[in-house]
Amino acid sequence: MIIYIVVGGLLTASLLSLLFKNRVVGAAASIIAHGLGLIGAVALCLRVASDGDYIPSLFTLVDPLSALTVLIISIVGLAASVYAAPYLDREVSKGIIGPKRFRQYFGLVNLFMACMLLSVTAAHPIAAWIFLEATTLSTAFLISFYDRPSTIEAAWKYLIINSTGLLLGFFGALLFFSATSRSGLDGFVTWQSLLQQAQSIDPGVVKVAFVFVLVGFGTKVGLAPMHAWKPDAYSKSPAPVGALLSGALLPVALVTILKFKVITDTAVGGAFSSHLLMVLGVLSLLIAAFSILTIRNYKRMMGYSSIEHAGLMALGFAFGGLGAFAAILHLIYHSLIKAGLFFTAGNLRLSFHSAKIKNVSGALKVVPVTAGLFMLLFLAATGLPPFGIFMSELYIFGAGLKQYPIVTIVALLAVALVFVGFFRQVSAVLFGDPPEGAQDAKSNKWLLIPPIVLLSLVLVFSFYLPPPLLDLINEAVRRYDL
């Protein structure tokens, strides 16, 4: 029931913000709904950790990995909605957007959240697909939120590329049913039944199907070379939307791929999917690394950073074993850190009125707290200890080195290059003399609390994983790594 209540709450919040003109109502309603969502997610995780899969109805199936993803989505979602209210407020006061846009924002964001939750908990692959497609639709208007030519361009690319990708994914998903439809299960196939039937699917079909699924959902994850929409969409959308796209939507799509991967692995062994994931993972890492080196816009940099991390996770799952464990850890860390980075980037944008790196400098002088957070989150994102991504990257490389030395070494060097590029840009943003007209967003502390909370959370998880969380991760690894 939990999940339905949460989704119901989100939809109600969506409706409320669309119906009421008062912008406080929408914001308050969605923060409350997201807060409820987080409570629900924690409850769900505890329940799944103690009792195993949670199956409230025919349509919903929450396994450990889904529960983890729900938790991540809820944390990022709550942080984003807490951040969004003061952020949009400030944009309204600067005249960037009209006051009426609040309604649109909160209406769509709640819908977006609901779709993600439904997609990741759906028992049926096609249902998961339907809700994933629905996220594309709800976010398209969020990306074009500022209604300028460039945002329309970004949203158009997002819409077309993702729709194409998702339809390919749909086709791949259909192919997975080739076994089940004949064995009389007719129609309502869940992930579980599909997995049980996996042995009976023709290996040839499974392979082709997985290629389609990987390319299709990989588009949504943002694996190179299907990544092209990412820098555009991330840089043109409002900061909290970027946080949601990177911190919540990416895990949802990745988890969907994993669910298909485990079926594929059961049918044709692990090597096939691993090799494909590895190719895309390394490609993502390399393209991201080289792109970040000379990037000129720090919000686009976030996009490439997401691509890099998606590549790392793909590698982790491809290597399996310790790598899979690390990849799930990485998933958690990445979502929290990247959301925090988007928030600090949003603060920078509010203070400097530009996302171009050449227009931003001396942030340490103008907005010291934001700049400090930006620095720390950057260090966390590029895998410096004591932040957890260091551990997860170490494990991923450790898992891969023996069997795939070249892939691992290339990945390691690419990660180092990402650090160099990222650091180059961060250094340019933080130090130096600030340009004229930059002012401290004197400052609504609610613009700072979400990234601080996320950073603290990462720091806590970097040293200590609460036992239920660890159980969930281990159980997920057991299930998804064959």
């Binding site: 049926h124 096609i126 339907i130 629905a134 086709f171 129609g187 040839g204 079909v205 043109k236």
Partner: protein, 216 residues
Amino acid sequence: MNSPLLVPILITVIYLTSIYMHLAKKNNGVAGLYALQSVALVLLFVSSFLANPTVLLFLVIVVSIIVKVILAPRFFNRLVTRHKVKFTVSSYANTPVTLIVIMFITAFVNSDVFLPITDLSASNSTYVALAIAAMLVSIFLMVNRKSALSQIVGVLSLENSIVAFGIIAGLEQSALLQLGTLFDIFVWMLVATVFVSMVYRHTGSLVVTTMRHLKD
């Protein structure tokens, strides 16, 4: 599949319409071809319904007709008339090259790679291959054409071919999910047409190549 003659004709229609979309010079023509393709798809549904009549499937057929055959082409035509963009913009490859690429795609689909899939429905393997070819040709439409409208139609045609593939290969889903899919597509269409309008408003044309400002 109880009507052995009908299916081949319908699937060929779907395949051919996806090719003609490459060649059409007018936007209305592209919309019309989509309507034709959708009719063929609906007829495929009907043949499936005749074999296995259920209420939900009937509902699917009705909704399909409303969304794909009636609403979608009307949206497109209204877009065309409102923005006075009767002729579609050019494509990257000229007609012979386009045809050669399509030929290669079709040949690729008929190669060994897709053997396991075309064998899913042994009796209809040629038509399964045609459906897949229609898919890839639709994607190629999005690559080749510079018009925003063509890209939307490309996505929709891709969807049509996938559904057609599902019907022929016998991979039909629970009708409830098909309704969900249809709903998605319907919303997608609304969103996409709104976006086409926005694109026109901001760039003054439907040429997607004008949208090349977001680089690096």
